[in-house]
């Protein structure tokens, strides 16, 4: 999921606050719907399973998960922690609605995480974009747009 940075400057840089350290580059998976842990994701496959969710059936493993925030049961952090322990977790998290569920979830998932980034990640990052999440500096960089430079969007429908 990581690799050499593409040549040149990032296409776009979002500034926020890093809450879990580390730097990772991976494809973005963007949703405008808040994500539920319990009843919302399947930890064995790293897949969204909530029927009314716009990413229903989509796998987030190895992706930079760009989402508004967490909703639903307090099991949220435990479910995402389980994706880490099962090897199905996302590569990084970017979200702007700060809740105890999402913050603790990011910490125990142990993936680089940036919160409160501007401009709004949901409006500026698209699914399939190659992004770098720098949890040390609190920066999210869009390195390549979806469909450009041979990046494939590979959404796994595993349900």
């Amino acid at each position: 999921m990581t690799g050499p940075a593409p040549d040149g400057e990032p296409l776009l840089e979002l500034r926020g606050r890093g809450i879990v350290p580390g730097v990772v580059e991976a494809e973005a998976l963007v949703t405008h719907d808040a994500i539920s842990g319990f009843g919302g994701i399947d930890v064995a496959t790293g897949t969204i399973i909530e029927p009314r969710h716009e990413l229903f059936g989509v796998c987030f493993t190895g992706k930079v998960l760009v989402f508004p925030g967490a909703k639903g049961s307090s099991g949220w952090s435990g479910y995402f922690q389980s994706t880490r322990l099962m090897g199905t977790g996302p590569a990084a998290m970017v979200f702007n609605v700060l809740t105890t569920k999402a913050v603790l979830g990011a910490i125990v998932t142990r993936v680089p995480t940036v919160v409160e980034a501007e401009p709004d990640p949901l409006e500026t990052i698209r699914t399939g974009d190659l992004v770098r999440v720098d949890g040390d500096a609190g920066l999210v960089s869009v390195l390549r747009r979806a469909g450009a430079g041979g990046i494939q969007t590979t959404l796994a429908f595993t349900i």
């Binding site: 808040a34 909703k71 639903g72 125990v108």
Partner: protein, 426 residues
């Protein structure tokens, strides 16, 4: 984040490695939240005993100490787990021995949970084994700082009891148990406890089902915000508010609401908004009520009901009594199961009062510790289930891939006795 000398000592190992790991997690967590400091708590409700594939693997690698370190403290070092520093209870977990053999739930998981119960109860964890600790001996007082998990318990704790907790997780409660500390953030701060939205019921909210439906609308509407609700609200009881809050925390992420004149921090509408003018109300009328009903009942086509689930959140003694009265001298439909989930302490009372016998004679079961959603298991062959719980109707179809009907207790009992769903919006 500011740390007291005591907290710095904990971080640096003055009270042992487990406490140091707990403080390290609390510091990472508090810093990430942007909390200024920690606050003392002597009331933790978390989860340690619930089996999962990841937990089993950790237990097999290094015993319960390893499972607690990794899952409840986010720590990979080998550490001993001491007695909990402050009163701590275990919330609902997996099925217990009373549910053995009733579903495909693995007997090994029941055994694993029993082993965990022994380990953790020796370390001072009270195994209440319910999503409603406030029903069985953990009743925080107004203003008390708590560290609770379980969204339906959190919203009850903040709203109905006026105690203060965020929606914590397995790691933050694990760390709070060993330190008696939790980040002073969010719902702990008085200024964050005033209402942000006003919702007005223009239809009568006067029974268990109506409170659940109104709650589902409120959660969908305000998401994580703090609603005050007014309008045609009848005096609610414990079960009504247990259902209402669980629903707000299911369709949304409500952790605190106010009902002026009813809940303790809102003696008046003005008080609910902290003296600021209340915004224009969002209306809950016949159309919105119908939307909720159709949403919760949009997950079923077959009216042949295999399974009826009551007691989400765990049933009160009063609810169990009503179920028993409705089942007196009746018999469940052949091929339809009925379960009532309740805390073990209330099951004991239900046994003593004869409610369990009445329900059992009709063919139903009174079970404890868990629920089909938590344990991801229903009676074998279940295709269609019915429930009086908005929360369970929301979650179970996604978790088990089954159809759902949502209605009143009377409709659910009718479905259990006839095997048919004949409910409808009155």
């Amino acid at each position: 984040m500011f740390l007291t000398d005591e907290e710095k000592g904990m971080r640096d190992g003055a009270e042992g490695e487990a406490v140091a790991a707990a403080m390290d997690l609390l510091i990472r967590y508090g810093d990430a939240l942007g909390a200024e400091r920690l606050v003392e708590t002597r009331n933790v409700a978390g989860t340690m005993t619930q089996p999962s594939p990841a937990k089993r693997r950790l237990f097999e690698e290094g015993g319960w100490a390893k499972a607690y370190a990794v899952i409840n403290l986010d720590c990979d070092r080998e550490i001993e787990i001491p007695r909990m520093r402050v009163p701590t209870c275990q919330l609902q977990h997996g099925f217990g021995p009373d549910a053995a053999g009733l579903t495909k739930y693995a007997p090994e998981s029941i055994e694993l949970q029993g082993s965990a119960e022994s380990y953790y109860s020796e370390r001072g964890v009270n195994i209440l084994a319910t999503c409603t600790p406030y029903q069985v001996g953990n009743l925080p007082v107004r203003g008390e700082h708590c560290a609770w998990m379980e969204s339906s318990a959190v919203v009850y704790c903040n709203s109905v009891l006026g105690a203060r907790t965020n929606c914590e997780g397995g790691a933050s409660t694990g760390a709070a148990s060993l330190t008696g500390k939790i980040p002073y953030w969010g719902n702990h701060l008085p200024e964050n406890r005033f209402a942000t939205h006003l919702l007005q019921a223009d239809v009568s909210v006067d029974d268990f089902q109506e409170w659940g439906m109104f709650g589902y609308f409120v959660g969908e509407t305000v998401q994580e915000a703090r609603p005050a609700v007014i309008g045609e609200l009848a005096q609610p009881d414990l079960a009504d508010l247990k259902h209402f809050g669980a629903a707000t925390a299911t369709s949304g992420g409500v952790e605190l609401y106010h009902i002026p004149g009813i809940t303790p921090e809102a003696p008046s509408l003005e008080a609910a908004f902290g003296g600021r003018p209340a915004p224009e109300p969002i209306r809950y009328g016949p159309r919105e009520r119908e939307w909720v009903y159709e949403t919760l009942n949009g997950q079923g086509t077959s009216t042949d009901v295999d399974f009826v689930l009551l007691g989400c959140p765990h049933a009160s003694l009063d609810q169990i009594a009503r179920i028993a009265y409705l089942l007196e001298d009746r018999r469940l439909h052949d091929g339809t199961e009925l379960w009532v989930m309740t805390p073990r302490a209330l099951r004991t009372m239900a046994d003593r009062n004869g409610y369990t016998r009445t329900i059992t004679q009709a063919g139903g079961r009174v079970l404890t510790d868990s629920c089909p959603a938590m344990s991801k298991a229903a009676p074998p062959g279940t295709r269609v289930f019915a429930t009086d719980s908005a929360k369970q109707a929301h979650y179970l179809p996604a978790i088990l891939g089954i159809e759902a009907w949502f209605g009143s207790l009377d409709e659910c009992i009718d479905a259990a006795v006839t095997g048919r769903w004949r409910g409808g919006l009155s």
